[in-house]
Every structure is written in C-alpha cells, then in structure tokens.
Symmetry: C2
Subunit: 459 residues, 2 copies
Amino acid sequence: MARERLIVIGGVAAGLSAASEARRHNRWMEIRVYEKGPDISYSNCGLPYYIEGLVPDADSLRIHSPEFFHAERDIDVFTHHEVIEISTSCRRVTMLAPGSAPEEVPYDRLVIATGAEPAPAEIEGLSLEGVFNVNTLQSTIALKRYLDSADVRRAVIVGGGYIGLEMAEALKTPERSVTLLERGANLFEAADAEIVEVIRQELARNGVEVLTGAKVLALVGDAHRGGARDQRGTVRRVHSESGSFDADCVVLATGVRPRVKIAADAGIELGAGGAVAVNEYQETSAAGVFAAGDCADALNLVSGRRTYVPLGTTANKQGRVAGENAAGGRARFAGIVGTAVVKVFGLEVARTGLSAEEAAQAGLRTAEAVVRAAARARYLGGQDILVKLIADRSTGRLLGAQMVGPEGVAKRIDVLATALHARLTAEQVYQLDLSYAPPFSSVWDPTLIAARQLLHALK
Amino acid sequence: MARERLIVIGGVAAGLSAASEARRHNRWMEIRVYEKGPDISYSNCGLPYYIEGLVPDADSLRIHSPEFFHAERDIDVFTHHEVIEISTSCRRVTMLAPGSAPEEVPYDRLVIATGAEPAPAEIEGLSLEGVFNVNTLQSTIALKRYLDSADVRRAVIVGGGYIGLEMAEALKTPERSVTLLERGANLFEAADAEIVEVIRQELARNGVEVLTGAKVLALVGDAHRGGARDQRGTVRRVHSESGSFDADCVVLATGVRPRVKIAADAGIELGAGGAVAVNEYQETSAAGVFAAGDCADALNLVSGRRTYVPLGTTANKQGRVAGENAAGGRARFAGIVGTAVVKVFGLEVARTGLSAEEAAQAGLRTAEAVVRAAARARYLGGQDILVKLIADRSTGRLLGAQMVGPEGVAKRIDVLATALHARLTAEQVYQLDLSYAPPFSSVWDPTLIAARQLLHALK
C-alpha cells in the first residue's frame, strides 16, 4: 500500500511547523515541502537586526537546513520548487523545478503556507537600483550588500508600520540620514495617538525625519534625463505628496498581502483581508486542504470577527495545527487577540486587543484610561512607561491595551493579552496579583494603576 | 454634630493606603494614623538595596512625610504613638505617646495595620552587637551604619527565604564573605527543587556559602569567657547544627509573623497563620474594625483556602479596600494567587500559584512540565530561562508556575498569575497570543513551550 502523501507549499514558519508537526503525529506519511525560493526555515522577524548589524551574518537567522529535515524528521524539503497550480478535485499540484518541465504531483493532504508578499505599490521607478523590499532573506541580504558597498548617506523608508519602524532603527547611523514617509495621516496605525506621539518623539530624538500624509508617487534615478521619467540607474530622489527627498536607498515597507493566487485559482474560498479562509482546524473550503500562516485568516477573539494579521507567532501556531490535522489529528487554533510588540530605538511599543479606532469600527462604546507610571522602583532607576487600557463601556470588559516606554513593556502587554483571552473586566484586571520587587516593578504595577483609572472612567 | 473618626493603627503600606483611600471616599471624616515607630510611608522592599548601596540614602526610600499627609490629604499621622489596647465594645483605643500617660481615644471605624514582626528565633546571643533584623527602616539603618563603621569581613545570614536571599546579594562584596544558614532541608521553600538548584548555583558562583539543615543554636560574642555563654560584646561566632562559623555580623531573616497582640487581646478572631481573620471586605470579627496588610490573612484563589502571605502588594491592596470600606464604601479584595519575585544576584526568581509541594498538601494530583527556553532571540544574545508549570491532573487547570533565569522572568510570571486568576487550563495557556519580537521573546515564548510540555504530561 502506498504511503499517504502530505504536500506543504512554503518552507518558512507555517510550512515547516506544519511539516514537523505532521511528522510528530504520523510516522508513516510521506511529507514533502516545496519552497519556491532558495531559503527555508529562517527568522523573518530577525531581518532588521541583520541590517542593523546586531546579527553578524545572515546564516545566524537560518534555523534548519533541508538536510536537517531529511535526516532528523524524514521530511523532504525542496527549494526552488514552485507550485504553480492546485487541483483540489484531482488532489494534485503542478510543480515547477529549475530546468524541468512542469510536473504533476498527487497529494492526499495539502497545506498551503505560501505566506505574504509585498502589497503592490503604485510608485514609479521601483525597478531602480537601490530600491529594496525587506520581506525575504534574499531581498534583505541584497539590501545589506548594497549598504556595505555603496555610500548610502540618505535612506528613505516608505511606510510607517512595524517594518518601517524597525528599518528606521536598522538604517540610522551617525553618517546616514533616514526619512520615513507614511502615506496615511498617522504613523503606526496599530496604536492610538498617545502611543504614536511617544514613538514620534523617539524617532525625532534619534534623528529620523518622519512625514505623514506623504504618499510616494515616484522614485527617480541618476540616469534620468529630464522630460519623460525612465527607470534606469540608481535611485536618487523620492517624490511624494509631501515634497521631494534626496535618497541613495529606498526601502519599501508598504505592507503585505496574503499570497493566495494559486489558492484562489483553485477555487479555494478567500476570507478576511483576501487571505485563505480557514476554520479553527485550519481547514480551507477544499477537502484535505489546510492553510496556515501569513496566507490565512484568523479569528480575533476580542471582536469575534475573522481578521488578517500576519505575524510569526500565529504562523507557527497555525502551522502546527494544520500539520497535526493534515496528519489525521484534530488540533484547534483558538484564535488571536492581536498582540504585537516592536522595538523602536530605545522604546518598547506593544499592543493587544482592539485599538480605540478598531473598537469604534466594531461599533463598541468604550471607556479609556491612559496613565504614566514607573516600570520599576524609581530609586533603582526605574523609568516611566505609558499604559493605555480600553474597556467596553456597557460591560466593563477589557477590549485592548497599548504600552510604550524604555523598559518593561514587551512582556507586560502579555498580562493584558491573557486578560483578553479570559475576557476579564477592568475590575478583574485591577484585582490581579502581579509580581513585585523593586528591581522589576512598582508596588502598584503600571497595569494596575491603569486598571484603577479605567474603573473610574467606567463609572 | 461631631465628625466620624477613623483610627488607623500602623503607618506603613497598608495603614497609609487605608487612610488615603478613606479620605478619597470621605471628605468629612476625621482620620488619624498612629505609628509606634519613628518612620512612616517607606518602601520596606527597598531595604536590601539600601544595604547594597544601590539606594544612596535611606531617605530615598521614604515616600511621604506626616506633613504631606496633613497638608495634602487632611490625615493626621502620629509617629511614636503606640496603640496598646483596643476596646471593640467601647470603640476606643488606648494610646501611648512619649512622655504622656496612656490616653483613650474613641473611634467610629478602626483599621488594624500593625504589620508583621520577626518570628521569635530560639537562638542564644541575639542581643550581641553586630546582630540585626532587617524588617524596619531603623533596624536596616543600624545595620548599614555597622557595615560602614566596622570592618565586617564575615557576614552570616540566618534564613534562606526571600529576605535571606536578597540580603546575601546585598552583603556580599569582594572583601566580605557571606554564609547563609537555612534550618530547613531546602533553601527558598516557596519554589520547587529545580528552581532552587539554579539559585544555589548562582549563590555559589557569587561566592555565597549556603548550608541547609543548619539550625542556628547560639551566637557567641567576643566578651565570651569560656564556661557559661554570656551575651556581652560583639558577635564573633555562630553555632549551628551544621557546624560553627566565624562572623562579624549576623543578619536574622528567619521570617515574620503577624503582629496581632492587641487585636488578639481585644478578642478579634485570628485566622490563617495566626493573622487577623478578614473577609473580602477586610472586615474583622469586630464591628467597625478592619484589618489589612501583613497582620491580616488573605484568600488564596488557587487553593480556595485562606492563607498568610505577607507581601507589599497585598498590603497596599488590602489597605485601600479597608480604607474605602471604613469610609462607608463597599470595596472588595478578591484575593491572592501567591505571586512573588526576587532578585538573587544575576537571577530573576518568580513564582505564582501553588508549588508542587503546596499542591500535594492540598490533596491535588498534578502534572508538571519543566522546560529550558530562550527568553528572547538567541541571535540577539537571549539567554535561557527555566520554566516550571503545574496543572491539576484531573481538570487540566493550571495550579502554579515558577521561573528562574537571568532575564525576562519577573513580568513573564504575571501572565501565569493572570491565567490563575482566570482559572485557565494548560490548553488555554498554550493558546495564548503572547507578544513576540526578537529583542523581547522567542517566537514560541517559554511559557507556551512549557504549556505544550504540560499538555503532554497531562495525557
């Protein structure tokens, strides 16, 4: 009897989590991973730190090799193998390997883990030299090489989300100016105005120029000869709705969208944000086909709605669930609450749940509290952090939290993420028995101070 | 019409929280605080850092003065005023001020916040010079003065709990040996063996000698002339069941007990650990009498039993509840889950809920997981921490957690404290959407790795 075959499309976080988990649950299944690019199993989230030079070489970001997966987990990982078509009715994929004709490969179970791709930007001049995406290891290595070889004095970042902020820190040096252009009215839309203001100040303090409402229209190269714009040479200037800027290097951080073409072409249903629609078992609309990671949607447990929030944590978790279920199990991915953290120079910025704007969009009436409190004892040098909590005015239930400050933010947000999972009220958050010792907290943890303020706001 | 009078006995954390909260809820009430010692409103938990020299002067640990309370909060704080008797039937206290005859003062509401006192140690020679408690600002200032004036080369700490561990770090210098003697079989009984072993190694690495099963029998001074032991002069030697040790200084950290004599004499009911029995409103058995802080018991939400766990956080919270209710409100203190954290040299040590031994004592069958995982990305220098989770074998409910490591422990334990409040199961903990960015966590937070292991142990 032939072994059942699992095919996984995509060899980064979700795909390899799926393959590994499938193997843990099924010793006999044949497991193949097709990755269209040259790299597998690396830390995408570590890429800004490689640019910054904190990670000495790109290999430090690689986790496992195809050889490892073959030898240790009996998983066959193929790089440069692109799946170009899925037939769910025939349960086969069409795969394109270098130098070969397209090959049809049957599957019993399929996991789609194709990830995300840069959202298309309507900007002229994207093919100029010195213009980079930073969404893959290869594109980031290319940027790093460019930085090391060319004399990049003026970098422009397009987009003020997580990646844009991380890249601002990564690119800024005493010798290099960094300008961040955000097309929207606000930087970092994941957080509310109070938090964003602190981020703005930190960027300014570190010499990063920030412009909002600055939609980028065109990049212009040094081969440009007046008249008609052409796309030759190296980027030298950025034209935006808020003015023009000199640039030796442009980094595009304009967001991503789910890479779903082959899934959509196969008739697999799409959901939130255009991602592959999945249920809590990571099942798609097609029998035997699962999806996980940055190409799939997820349930937001706070709003109760399916959303698209591509993050590494979710990718790994969904991958495991898809893998276990593809191997005959029945694991469940409960959902997300929207927790994220980002380092911006000396700041930790974190959020979970719904922002005030997201809550308003969901039609919820809210009460809010914003407090500034010491992350740990001031007499030991503890510094203030800003904490914002948002609750449902009618029920008192916590809806979201945001924090920013020089220390003690990243894991503190997790307390509130846990509270969101448990649907705690502001009163229940205020009652939490949180740890205290002077080197680590104040006797009233900032979270509790904010919760008390929130209780007043709810009255 | 006379103003109603609130008397608060005790002017540190619980007492002043009570007085302040009473004022917030009642503008008209007369509020008096009687403190028998010279100091009010200081950070008890900061005392070890004053000894260590991290807090430059003791005044940094003072929070507010009696003048502040008078001017800002219309609260009259009396130091050196000792309440020596309570009559609950007549609603009055007998108060002793310096140079005056005992005075009877009527109250309408009373808050007992007398704190804790060193548990009596059956040790000879406690009145020798060079022997110190560290449970008040004054006793700690005395120790600091002694350390600054005498040439203390050999310090012995009696007791291996939180204070003993903090004092080991505070006292150790390159020139000064520190020996820690614990009478029990284990150091730091708040944690299980795996965690304690890491603490032991850290103490050894920092040159602190630790002996367990080392009950101290006698301290001997330099005026000792053979034959009968006397108690004159300065301490020079410590005799314990595990041998004798030279010492220029002895710090007693043998634990505390609730200071309840006047409450007990007044016929007020005592509860867990001999502390004043209170309900969730901080009411005692006597009408109009509340108790809060280190002299009161508290409900452990995990075991469902009342317990005695004197900690600053609980004192402040209970104080507020007692104060609000003494002022006519109806606030509630939900209870504790037993969260605590302590710094031991380069280690953060944290715990919440029940330890394995406490769970066993409560008659619970448990499953456990112990994992070692990186607190943040290894390629950014992240170090491993040890995480232990304990769950109820029959229900899967989380019962407790312990962590130890060089970073990222203190606030991470709060996630599990929150999970305990919400009565989450191991599966629900595994599903938590915790924050991730390489500078702050691993993509699988150590908590989630431990939760997964715990799920396996529960199978």
